[in-house]
Structures are given as structure tokens and as C-alpha cells.
């Protein structure tokens, strides 16, 4: 693949494995084994079977007629919100639990922001009867209380991260510390295309089912397997990488990644990484991150707990730097309004993360019959409180 990873684990200038020695054996074990395991026929068969019968794949590609009419293009929604557990996160969680099982790991740890990845991980751990510990920022635990309850009900232990901004970045640090302390029996299910190599590659492959299905479904809908535009929101960037993956080498497909501008990119309360960030190292990979001049990580902000991450995955950093994908940003208010619009035009309440992608439609100009696919990465149930507060329902 033209925009894929090289043998050293880099996407252009980005990627690699910037990890303390304590994590080296774990990462090396993964690096050496993940391809053999995931290419094995029995792994593939179990993965596909669980995606079909447990997750409910393929997720539909839905032609949103009223949105299409509004924007003057054919707007297709890739319905990851209809997956079991309510978002794309389950695709990766299934892949990694099968990997962990084959690596004979007895314990799973994970980090979560919005809670969707935590719920997905708790779900697959319940499915396989494996102990599960999920780290979640204290602030996120408050604003995503229903997902905390779900994780607990599924048998996971939810541990609050109380350092820093008490959000996703800090939950990730805590999970890494746990892994350092438990190197032999534990697998860390990272929830996005971030972290040391091979994580960004592995997670992207598990999520690439999104674009693989989209190609086939778009062909059935339109007679063409390539859309003109593929849009997705980006925090760490796993749903976007899944949406982009099988279109990367098709240069005619314009890839648009929508970051969270929060209260405005220059407000000091933002998570618009490509606009505010610069190159550096975060959570084990060289990427683009929001940081001070001294290289201290800046606390991000977004109304969406799934997008307030100060970096992006290294492959995204590469796609941004070489201009293969366009990185844009949308404010809290724009996203919430788009969420309401999609609810009222299509009868679908999107997660606020996904609403960021919808909001960017307002800023685009289409030719008639342009085919646009948007990754509707998750459903908005978990965000109802935020919607209710904002709109005063």
C-alpha cells in the first residue's frame, strides 16, 4: 500500500515505537506475532464469524435522502452506529481479544474517552471470559455515566484516571503504567490508531472492514465502488482510518478528516490537532500533537469525550503532511447543531463525534451526483445528556 507502514513501523516521518524498555518485550511480541496470527485461517474465520453474527456486520450503507436533498449530493451513511455496542469500536475490540487469546493473555486493560471503546472491550472480555480493567478519566466518567454503568454491568473494573486533565490522554497514561507493571499476562487493547507500532497498523486493519464493505455496498447502490468524498471525525482517528483504508490508493477519492475545534481553534479550548499541533512523540509514536514550546503535552478540549485527544494517529499525521487527506475542524456548537439536524432529517441521533463529520457538509460544495460517504461512527445515546443540556429539552 502506497500510504502504508514500512518495515520499521513508520508512515513517512511518523510512527515507530517510543517506549520505555519495560514495554519493549510486549511490543516486540506483538510485532513479531500479530501478522502471523491475524493472517491465520482460523483467526480470520473466527473474526469474520463474530463480526457477522455478534456485531451484526455488514453494517448498512444508507442513502440519506433528505440530507442528500439538502446538500445537493448523494450522501451515504456507513452505519457503524448499528453495530453491537453502538459504534465502530467493537470491530477492533473483537480483533484484539482474539489476538490476546492466541497470545495466551489472561488479563485485558484498555483506556476509554467517551466510553465506547471501554464498552466494546468490556463486551468482548465478557464474551471470552477474560478479566477486564478499563481506565477512564475522572471527568469522562462523569459525563459518560451510562457507559461506565454498562462496563461495570459487563463485569469490567473501571479505574478513574485522576492526573492531568482527567480525560483520555491521562487514561492512556494510566493504562500504559498498568501494562508496564503487568508485562507477562496482560494485553493492552488500545482503542485507536495510536500508540507504538504495531498498534496503529493493527487497529487500522481491524477497522478497515468499514471501507471494505463501503466499496462493495457503494457499487451495489451506484454502480461505482469509489465515492467522490469520504468523511469521518478524528480524535485518535480509528473510524477515519477504517473509512479511508481501502480508498487510500485511489487518489480520486477525496478524504476529509474532521477534528474537534471545541470552542474555536484559537480559543484555548480545542482539540484541533493538525491546526494547533506540531511533530513530536505522544504515547509511544512520533506524530503530530498539541504541545508547548518545551514539549509538554497541552490539555485538549472538546464537548465530545471521544475527540478530546491531543494527538492523532501517526498514519493520519503522514496523510496530513503529504496532503493525501484534508484535515479540517468543527466547533462544539456546529457539531451539536449538525447532530440535531441529522436527528430531525433522518431519524438518527448520531454520537457527537460523528456529528462533527456531518457538520462539515455545511462547508462543502458539491457537484450534482457526487457520491459522499460519511462514517456514522457511533450512536448518540451516550451523548443525550449533552444534547439535552445544550438544546434545553
Amino acid at each position: 500500500m502506497r500510504y502504508g507502514v514500512n518495515e520499521q513501523g513508520y508512515y513517512g516521518d511518523f510512527g515507530g515505537a517510543y517506549i520505555p524498555e519495560m514495554l519493549y518485550p510486549n511490543i516486540e511480541e506483538l510485532r513479531q506475532q500479530y501478522q502471523a496470527i491475524t493472517n491465520d485461517a482460523s483467526f480470520k474465520a473466527e473474526f469474520e464469524s463474530l463480526l457477522k453474527d455478534y456485531v451484526g456486520r455488514p453494517s448498512p450503507l444508507y442513502l440519506a435522502e433528505r440530507l442528500s436533498e439538502k446538500y445537493g449530493a448523494n450522501i451515504f451513511l456507513k452505519r457503524e452506529d448499528l453495530n453491537h455496542t453502538g459504534s465502530h469500536k467493537i470491530n477492533n475490540a473483537i480483533g484484539q481479544i482474539l489476538l490476546a487469546e492466541r497470545l495466551c493473555k489472561k488479563r485485558i486493560i484498555a483506556e476509554t474517552g467517551a466510553g465506547q471503546h471501554g464498552v466494546a472491550t468490556a463486551t468482548v472480555c465478557a464474551l471470552k471470559g477474560i478479566e477486564c480493567v478499563v481506565y477512564m478519566g475522572e471527568v469522562d466518567m462523569e459525563r459518560q455515566a451510562p457507559n461506565v454503568a454498562r462496563m461495570k454491568m459487563l463485569g469490567a473494573k473501571v479505574v478513574p484516571a485522576t492526573s492531568g486533565s482527567k480525560t483520555l490522554k491521562d487514561a492512556t497514561n494510566e493504562a500504559m503504567r498498568d501494562w508496564i507493571n503487568n508485562p507477562l499476562d496482560t494485553h493492552y487493547i488500545i482503542g485507536s490508531v495510536v500508540g507504538p507500532y504495531p498498534y496503529p497498523e493493527m487497529v487500522a486493519k481491524f477497522q478497515s472492514i468499514i471501507s471494505l464493505e463501503t466499496k462493495k455496498q457503494l457499487l451495489e447502490h451506484t454502480g461505482r465502488e469509489l465515492p467522490d468524498y469520504a468523511l469521518a471525525c478524528v480524535g485518535g482517528g480509528s473510524n477515519a482510518m477504517g473509512m479511508f483504508y481501502h480508498f487510500l490508493d485511489d487518489e480520486s477519492v477525496k478524504l476529509i478528516a474532521v477534528e474537534a475545534a471545541g470552542k474555536g481553534v484559537e480559543s484555548g479550548h480545542s482539540a484541533a490537532t493538525t491546526f494547533l499541533g506540531k511533530e513530536g512523540v505522544l504515547h509511544g509514536s512520533r506524530t503530530i500533537l498539541m504541545q508547548t514550546e518545551d514539549g509538554q503535552v497541552v490539555e485538549p478540549y472538546s464537548i465530545s469525550a471521544g475527540l478530546d485527544y491531543p494527538g492523532i494517529g501517526p498514519q493520519h499525521a503522514h496523510l496530513y503532511k503529504i496532503n493525501r487527506a484534508q484535515y479540517v475542524s468543527i466547533t462544539d456548537d456546529e457539531a451539536l447543531n449538525a447532530g440535531l439536524l441529522v436527528s430531525q432529517l433522518e431519524g438518527i441521533i448520531p454520537a457527537i463525534e460523528s456529528a462533527h463529520a456531518f457538520a462539515y457538509l455545511e462547508k462543502m460544495k458539491f457537484k450534482p451526483n457526487d457520491n459522499v460517504v460519511i462514517c456514522l461512527s457511533g450512536r448518540g445515546d451516550k451523548d443525550l445528556d449533552t444534547y439535552i443540556k445544550h438544546f434545553g429539552y
Binding site: E21, M22, R177, N181, L184, G280, V281, E293, G295, V297
Partner: protein, 257 residues
């Protein structure tokens, strides 16, 4: 020959190093703590440059880093605070911290400033070995700064041999695969691990860190290795009251006498 190698040539056992975070417990306490540690008989020092997201550190050192950052600590200020270091401190001194602040500072700039103030080596736990070899090694050598690698009980023999080959002062042997601040378990596993490494006859001395906080753990580490490093226990003491400088000597004697 830098000060580290001179030290290893002259003192053969029971070497004690102490880690503390620059700018903690007070922004301007760095030099005074270094002087107090030398006076108390410590053999070499590790000065931590704080980072916002220190994944290898436990709560004590993480807290000290955050306090230092909140007070305004940064690499420029550390070098400014250490500019008169060599007027009053003669023992070897290392800087310890994470890769991103070094990258943003620029490796050439970092090494030049470190050499100017009399720093002898660096410990950057998340700097990949191959990146050090490709991008950092020559710069470090040009400024006579040693790079210290970590080894854990899980590090393979091949990798330890490679680390030994790339090292020119000492190898930082982690007492266990853990974050900082967890007490050393004095059990057979530790003896087996230390004896295994000792049996490899490495060209560089091994100094044990992580989990060394009292006389018993120091003695155990020194039984198989050239010395040991105390970090969290000392940082914890620093945070326990404003009279920390007067407690340094007692702390050090409690470890190694």
C-alpha cells in the same frame, strides 16, 4: 574520559546515586539539593527534567514533575540553574527525562547545553535504541555525553548484549519490570535475575534502579551490581516538609551506612 568513567575506575562497589526532579519541591531548589547530596556522600546524581506525561513513573515522581512544571520548570531553566554547578559539585551528574522535550529542544542544542554546564550523561527511557544509533549517538559522542540504557528482567540476552555494545558508562538495571516507586521484592527471583546478568560478564557496570529505597534493598542490589539508584523514596522525603535540605544527610546515611 568523563566523570562517570573516572568514578567507576576509582570506586568499585556500593555506588549510590540519587534521583530528584529539577524544580521540586521548590523551583529554585535544584542546585542546593545537588550540593547537599554530594556533601552527604552520594556518588553521582540524576536530575529529572519534568514531563507532563511520564508513563514510566509512579505517582511520587509523576507528582513531583507536575509540581515542577506548574512552578515553571523547563529545560532552559534547568540549564540556567545548573550553569554554576561545577563550581560546587564535583560528582557525575545525569539528566533523566522523556524524548519529546529533548526533541523539541533539539538534540544538538540539548547536548551542547548539557556539556556546557558539566552534565556527564542522559537517561531517556522512551528513546528507541535504533533512533539513538541513527540520530543521537554521534551528537552525544561529540559532546562527551553518555547515553544510559535500561534493562529489565524481561530484556532478551541479545538485546542486553546490544545495549552493552552501545553503552560507554553503565547499564541501568531495573530491579523489576515496573514503574518507579514500587519496593524491591527481596526474593529468590531477584537473586536469580541479578546473578544471571552478573554471569553475562558485560563490559559496562550495572547499577540497579527502581524499587531501591532503604538499606536492605540497597544492600541486595550491591551484592550483585556495582551500585544502586534511589529515586521515589528521596523525592517523597523532599515533599514532606520545608526542612528537606537538613534531612538529606540522614536520608543518605540511612541507605548506605
Amino acid at each position: 574520559m568523563n566523570r562517570l568513567n573516572q568514578l567507576f575506575d576509582t570506586k568499585k562497589d556500593n555506588l549510590l546515586s540519587v534521583y530528584f526532579t529539577a524544580g521540586y519541591p521548590e523551583l529554585n531548589s535544584t542546585l542546593a539539593i545537588a550540593e547537599a547530596l554530594e556533601k552527604a556522600g552520594v556518588d553521582f546524581l540524576e536530575v529529572g527534567f519534568p514531563y507532563s506525561d511520564p508513563v514510566a513513573d509512579g505517582p511520587t515522581i509523576q507528582h513531583s514533575s507536575q509540581m515542577a512544571l506548574d512552578a515553571g520548570m523547563n529545560l532552559n531553566l534547568i540549564f540556567e540553574q545548573l550553569k554554576d554547578l561545577r563550581k560546587s559539585v564535583t560528582i557525575p551528574i545525569l539528566l533523566m527525562g522523556y524524548a519529546n522535550p529533548v526533541m523539541q529542544f533539539g538534540v544538538e542544542n540539548f547536548c551542547r547545553r548539557a556539556a556546557e554546564v558539566g552534565v556527564d550523561g542522559c537517561i531517556i527511557p522512551d528513546l528507541p535504541m535504533h533512533e539513538y544509533e541513527m540520530l543521537y549517538k554521534d551528537v552525544f559522542a561529540r559532546y562527551n555525553i553518555s547515553n544510559i540504557f535500561l534493562v529489565t528482567p524481561q530484556t532478551s540476552e541479545d538485546r542486553i548484549r546490544k545495549i552493552d555494545e552501545l553503552s560507554n558508562s553503565f547499564i541501568y538495571l531495573l530491579s523489576s519490570a515496573s514503574i518507579t516507586g514500587k519496593a524491591l521484592q527481596l526474593n529468590d527471583h531477584v537473586d536469580t535475575y541479578f546473578a544471571r546478568i552478573q554471569g553475562m560478564n558485560l563490559k559496562n557496570p550495572t547499577i540497579v534502579g527502581f524499587g531501591i529505597g532503604d538499606k536492605a534493598s540497597f544492600t541486595k542490589a550491591c551484592q550483585y551490581n556495582r551500585g544502586a539508584i534511589v529515586g521515589s523514596a528521596f523525592v517523597k522525603m523532599l515533599g514532606e516538609g520545608s526542612d528537606y535540605l537538613s534531612k538529606v544527610e540522614g536520608f543518605v546515611k540511612g541507605i548506605c551506612e
